[in-house]
């Protein structure tokens, strides 16, 4: 088992590889993974003034002149905005950071960079990018990846445990300091859920859907449920868990009561 941790994308990214193969092969693959994350950050980070996203935000670069990946991401953000009735928005009213597709890019970057692990022949690994999880294979024989979901109120406790065979788990919520998620339709903070966790095959979509579902509030779980192969778990302010059927199948234990 080898774990590599690096500060990335404003948070901490860890890669846990369980394949019983040559350590040098693993090291090279993990280094390539982090190198890809760095390159993506260079192009996408709204915190880097020279990135394509920052330049588009300032009106210095037309979206149609951007690189293919950036164009794809912006188109995906547009689609998400339409699909969520504006609850998910990449273009903000924030003059300092008018374009911020981070809710999609955070997970998408991991999906993209994780190709390096697959190309190297690694098939049992788990990436944790600041609370967004992408896993493949299994942590050991006859086991499934066990993903704890943080309790939204008590940071040192879990609210739920999910078991996955591979795939992504992303959580969006308000318990972290700072109102960074607003309902794009009203500009208000959603109050219904403390957090929404989405399970799906890819981290980019899971991440974006979690953000959108949280912003949508009550409609959020139904909205995720309408997307094939995706499920959601929401933790409410009154200590209840609400799950879609798919998410319920992955749930192994939880604190509080369930709805």
């Amino acid at each position: 088992m080898s774990v590599t941790v690096s500060p990335r994308m404003g948070t901490i990214v860890g890669v846990d590889v369980r394949d019983a193969i040559d350590g040098d092969v693993i090291a090279e693959a993990v280094n390539a993974f982090f190198a890809d994350l760095e390159a993506i950050e260079d192009r996408f980070s709204p915190w880097r003034p020279g990135s394509e996203i920052s330049r588009i935000g300032r009106g210095e670069l037309r979206p149609s002149d951007a690189s293919p990946d950036v164009r794809w991401v912006l188109a995906a953000c547009d689609e998400l905005e339409r699909a969520t009735g504006g609850a998910f928005r990449a273009w903000r009213r924030d003059p300092g950071r008018p374009l911020d597709p981070s809710a999609l890019v955070k997970g998408w970057a991991v999906d993209r960079a994780a190709r390096r692990l697959v190309e190297a022949g690694l098939s049992n690994w788990c990436i944790n990018a600041g609370g967004d999880v992408l896993a493949r294979g299994a942590p050991g024989p006859d086991r499934r990846w066990r993903v704890g979901v943080r309790h939204p109120v008590f940071a040192d406790r879990l609210g739920a445990v999910l078991e996955i065979d591979g795939g992504a788990v992303a959580t969006s919520g308000l318990y972290e300091r700072g109102p960074h998620i607003v309902d794009g339709r009203t500009g208000d903070l959603p109050q219904r859920f403390w957090s929404v966790t989405v399970i799906g095959p890819e981290l980019g979509w899971a991440d974006a859907y979690a953000t959108a579902a949280f912003a949508l509030g009550d409609e959020g779980l139904e909205w995720v449920h309408d997307h094939p192969a995706h499920g959601a778990v929401a933790m409410t302010a009154d200590d209840r868990l609400i799950t879609t059927p798919l998410a319920r199948r992955h749930l192994t234990s939880f604190s509080g009561s369930s709805a």
Partner: protein, 148 residues
């Protein structure tokens, strides 16, 4: 250079790696109050007394710089034991002064061991995170100060 270690299943120690060139640029979203940066720069509250930098058995708590943001001040605190980062948390700072570390934010990666008493055999933890340049800047300062 990315630090890598092989872990025994019982080990909880993780090394937080520095990546060459990881230096957040000046950030337009940070407020003019960024002058508070220098106030608590790399304060080391060492349980064993003395200098910054990990020693064989000492456990140190190292604070990163205080970064002012639109949503309030952010300061990251790391706990270093035997040269390894074993905890990362955000210090909650009420207006006008410091308080102790509030465990509202515990790094998902490092929290897995702390949470294991509550639910056995967790491999990883998912949670919403405060991803921002302020956090990264403060964390980097804490790592620098701890000599990691």
């Amino acid at each position: 250079m990315i630090a890598r270690i092989g872990l025994g299943l019982a080990s909880i120690a993780l090394a937080c790696a520095l990546v060459l060139g990881f230096r957040p640029p000046d950030d337009a979203a940070l407020t003019a109050g960024a002058g508070a940066d220098g106030r608590s720069s790399g304060t080391a509250n060492s349980a064993g007394g003395a200098a910054a930098g990990p020693t064989a058995d000492a456990t140190q708590v190292v604070d990163g710089t205080v970064i002012q943001t639109r949503f309030g001040p952010v300061q990251v605190e790391i706990t270093v034991s035997s040269g390894r980062v074993v905890r990362v948390s955000a210090v909650e700072l009420p207006a006008g002064g410091r308080s102790g570390a509030i465990s509202r934010f515990v790094s998902p990666i490092l929290a897995s061991e702390a949470l294991s008493a509550q639910s056995a055999r967790i491999d990883v933890v998912s949670g919403a995170t405060y991803t921002s340049r302020a956090y990264a800047t403060s964390l980097q300062a804490a790592l620098d100060s701890a000599g990691l």
